[in-house]
């Protein structure tokens, strides 16, 4: 487990530290001037100084230490429900040499329309639809309309 522990430059904290130190030293001067210091053992005075500055040091350290940043990447699974919006593979269409009209027929085929219904929708004869569908089967290398639809969806030619 790695963690970065760097000292940041925080002027405010240093300022407070400096002022505290000055205050303590000033206090010392006042005590010295009034001969208060030597009413007690020097040991205790030194000890007090040590404790105060230890506390100050601890405080300073806590203020200055930058927090360890743990980046936790949570993978949120988002299922795509829009099957309608699958992008159509134009390259594949071009490679297979499927024409616009054939694509029209293929799309209506995928919706479950009969050749006669397709003919009605596209204003062409049943024979023409048969010709188109036959060509589609050859180009898709399938034998039936159901296979054609299945393969076309798999190849993202239709949606």
């Amino acid at each position: 487990m790695k963690f970065a522990l760097r000292l940041g430059i925080k002027y405010k904290e240093f300022l407070i530290y400096g002022m505290s130190m000055a205050l303590v030293l000033l206090l010392l001067k006042v005590m010295e001037a009034n001969f208060i210091v030597f009413n007690y053992r020097l040991d205790f005075f030194i000890g007090a100084i040590a404790i105060v500055f230890t506390v100050l040091g601890v405080w300073l350290a806590l203020k200055l230490v930058k927090p360890k940043v743990v980046t936790q990447v949570i993978e949120k699974e988002v299922y795509i429900e829009n099957q309608d919006k699958i992008e159509i593979d134009q390259k594949e269409i071009a490679e297979l040499g499927i024409s616009k009209r054939e694509l029209d027929v293929l799309n209506l085929m995928a919706k479950g329309l009969s050749n006669e219904e397709i003919a009605g929708k596209l204003f062409i004869s049943l024979n023409t639809v048969k010709t188109h569908s036959s060509n589609i089967f050859v180009k898709l290398d399938v034998k039936r309309r159901t296979q054609a639809v299945e393969k076309a969806k798999r190849l993202k030619i239709i949606n």
Copy 2:
């Protein structure tokens, strides 16, 4: 942004701190005994003590304080394209009254198999497949296998 800032109990660090403090006070005693201290200004001595214990305090704090942990949660959206794994709507199947065998036929139908091929795969006769498919069409309220496949996929009966 929450972060935990707790003091851990680390005896080794406290021991080192205590020993350092004892050493400094011992040094002080020795200097005091030899009248070294007062050869210099008390100010400088006190300043030195302050600096030493500040450093000790900082060191102690860094050792004792568990690093502030900032947990940064980044949600990464992972898109899943698995159309195969669309859950099948068992309720719909039950509501439509589609039997297991009919579902078998429907699934193979969706793969583009002919009735004869389905019969071969399921080890039943062509006539049986026709009976099943006819029943499927009635239950799905469609007229052709292509429509059946289209509607079945839409209703998530098959995938």
